[in-house]
Amino acid sequence: MQLYLPIAEIPVNIFVIFGMGGTVGFLSGLFGIGGGFLLTPLLIFSGIPPAVAVATVTTQIVASSTSGVIAYWRQKAIDLKLAFVLLCSGVIGSALGVWLFGILQRLGQLDLVISLSYVTFLGSIGGLMLVESIKAMMRRRSGDAPVARKPGQHSWVHGLPMKMRFRRSKLYVSVFPIFAIGSIIGFLGSVLGIGGGFMMVPALIYLLRVPTSIVIGTSLLQILVTMSAATIMHSYNTQTVDIVLALTLMIGGVIGAQLGARIGQKLRGEQLRLLLALLVLGVGLRFAVNLVLEPEDPYSVVVVDGENA
C-alpha cells in the first residue's frame, strides 16, 4: 500500500516503513538503545531525502523514549538534577546542530557531513564496544572475575572546578564534563538524527561514574527532552519533519521494541554487546564504502528552491 508523504513529497510503501520501524524497534528493545543511528541510515538508503530522514527520526525517538521514561520514573530510577543539567546543555547543543544543519543544507554538503560523522562515530564506538565485549567473553571463558571499580578511585574529570552535588547518583562533580557530554550529544543528535543513548550511557558510566541503575532512566529523560526540542527546532528552521512518516515509524517502533525487550532478557550481556558492536560497525562501514568507492554517477541534482525560483 502506497502512502504519499506530505513533507518528503514522495510516496512510500507503508508496510516497508512500518517494517523498518519495527525492525529498528526490535533491535532497540533488544539492546536497550534508541536506534536512531540505525533508523536514519535505513531511511536514507531507502530514498527518503537525508534532511527529512534526520529531522523525522528525532520525532520518532521522542515516542520511543517516552514509555521508557515513564517506566523508570515509576521506579524512581532517574536523577532529575543530573538530567536537568544534561538537557539544558543538550538543548543548546541541538540548537547549534539545527543551525549548522540549515547551513550545510544550503551549501550542498549535508550528505557528506552526515556520512563522515556516521563513519567516525559508529566506527570508533563500534570498535570500542567490540574490543570490550570480546575481552569480557574471554574473561568469562578463562573464569577470571571482571576488574571491579575500586571505591574512591578518581579520574582527571573529578579534578575540575565548579562542582555540583547530585544526591540521587551519589556524585560530586564539576558541571563542565556534564555540560560537554550533554551539548555534544545534543549537537550530534540534531545533525545526525540519533538520540545518542549509545554514547550517553557509556560516557555517564565511565567518565562520571554515575551508578548503572540511574544511568538509563536519566539518559532516556535527557534524550526525550533534547529530541523534543530538536523536533520543534527542525520544524521551525528547516521544515523537514514529516509527521506521517514519523507516525508510521513510531507505531512500528513501539511494537518492535516490546518484542525485542522480551527476547533481550534471554540473552547474555556480553553476547548482546558483541552483536550490537557488529551492528554499529556494519552501519559505519556501509557509509564508509559509499564515501570511498567511486560513485556510479558522480552527478546529482538538487532542487534548491521549489516555490519561488
Binding site: 502506497q2 502512502l3 504519499y4 506530505p6 513533507i7 513529497e9 514522495i10 510516496p11 520525532t59 520518532q60 521522542v62 515516542a63 520511543s64 523514549s65 517516552t66 514509555s67 515513564i70 517506566a71 550542498g108 554538503q109 550528505d111 557528506l112 563522515l116 523534543s228 523536533t231 520543534i232 527546532m233 527542525h234 520544524s235 521551525y236 528552521n237 521544515q239 519533519v241 509527521i243 506521517v244 514519523a246 507516525l247 513510531m250 507505531i251 513501539v254 511494537i255 521494541a257 516490546q258 564515501l291 570511498v292 568507492l293 567511486e294 560513485p295 554517477d297 558522480p298 552527478y299 546529482s300 541534482v301 538538487v302 532542487v303 534548491v304 528552491d305 521549489g306 525560483a309
Partner: protein
C-alpha cells in the same frame, strides 16, 4: 510568451490573407484541469486530445499533419553537483546552478521531433529537452565544454526520475483529424500551475498552437499538513512532539507488564 503567441497569431492571420491555404486549426483539451495529490497519490495520467479542423478553404496537402504536445511544470532553481575525489573520499566538489528550470517537462510528438519541425523552429519555440533555455547562474569560470557536461547531466538526472520526458511517435491519430496522447505525471511531481501546449505542424511549418492550464495541488490532509508546516512551523513542531509523547505513553500502557 504572450507577446510571442500574439505575434504568431498575427503571422498566421497575415499568411491567411495572402494564401488562404493555412486554414487548419487546432482544438485541444485535457482530460482534467486539476490533479489532486491525496494520501494515496502514486502519479497520474493526463490525456491530451483534440481535433485538427479543416475548413472549405483548406487545400489538400502533400504532407501529413504532425503534432507536438509539451507539458511544462512550474519553474524551480536547481543545482547540479559533481562528486570529485578529495583525500580519498568522494565529495560534491563542483556545481552549476540554474534558475527557472521547469520542475516537469514532457514532450510528446507524433514522429521524431526533428522530422516534425526544423532545428531553428524547435529552438525558437523551446521544444525538446535540448532546447530548454538552461543558463547557469554563478557557475564561475567554467569552460563551454564543462557547461555542456553539467547541463546534460541535469537533463539526464531529471530523465532518470521521470520528470523530463521526450517521446516521439507518442501521439496517436484516431482518425485523420482526431488525436490523443497520454502524459504520465510521476508521483514525485511538484505542485503548481502547469501549461500544456499543443502545436500543429505541416511540412515543418507551424500552423497553429493551443494552450491549456493544469493545476496540480495537494488536497485534504496532505494539503493541511503541508501548509501547517510552512505557515505555522512552531505549532507544527509542538504537534509533532505531542503526537510522539502520546504514542509513547499509549504504548507504555498497552504493553505494561503487571
Amino acid at each position: 510568451m504572450h507577446m510571442l503567441a500574439s505575434f504568431l497569431c498575427l503571422i498566421s492571420l497575415f499568411s491567411l490573407s495572402i494564401i488562404s491555404a493555412r486554414a487548419e486549426s487546432l482544438v485541444s483539451a485535457i482530460s482534467s484541469p486539476t490533479v489532486s495529490i491525496t494520501s494515496n497519490f502514486t502519479g497520474a495520467d493526463i490525456l491530451v486530445f483534440g481535433e485538427v479542423n479543416r475548413d472549405a478553404a483548406s487545400v489538400a496537402r502533400a504532407n501529413d499533419n504532425e503534432l507536438i504536445v509539451v507539458v511544462e511544470g512550474p519553474p524551480e532553481r536547481m543545482t547540479t553537483w559533481r562528486k570529485e575525489r578529495l583525500a580519498g573520499i568522494w565529495i560534491n566538489a563542483t556545481s552549476s546552478t540554474y534558475a527557472g528550470v521547469p520542475s516537469f517537462y514532457a514532450v510528446h510528438a507524433s514522429t521524431p521531433l526533428t522530422v516534425v519541425a526544423g532545428e531553428q523552429t524547435l529552438k525558437e519555440q523551446r521544444i525538446g529537452l535540448q532546447n530548454l533555455p538552461l543558463a547557469p547562474i554563478a557557475s564561475g569560470e567554467m569552460t563551454r565544454n564543462e557547461r555542456k557536461v553539467f547541463r546534460d547531466a541535469l537533463i539526464r538526472k531529471r530523465e532518470e526520475i521521470g520528470l523530463f520526458v521526450e517521446k516521439s511517435e507518442a501521439i496517436k491519430f484516431l482518425s485523420p483529424t482526431l488525436f490523443a496522447t497520454n502524459v504520465e505525471l510521476p508521483s514525485n511531481i511538484a505542485v503548481g500551475e502547469y501549461t500544456i501546449t499543443t502545436y500543429l505542424f505541416n511540412g515543418q511549418v507551424l500552423l497553429h498552437q493551443q494552450q491549456q492550464k493544469l493545476h496540480i495541488a495537494k488536497e485534504g490532509f496532505e494539503q493541511h499538513t503541508f501548509s501547517l508546516s510552512r505557515q505555522q512551523p512552531l505549532l507544527y513542531g509542538i504537534l509533532a512532539v505531542a503526537l510522539a509523547l502520546f504514542t509513547g505513553w499509549l504504548a507504555g500502557i498497552i504493553f505494561r507488564k503487571d
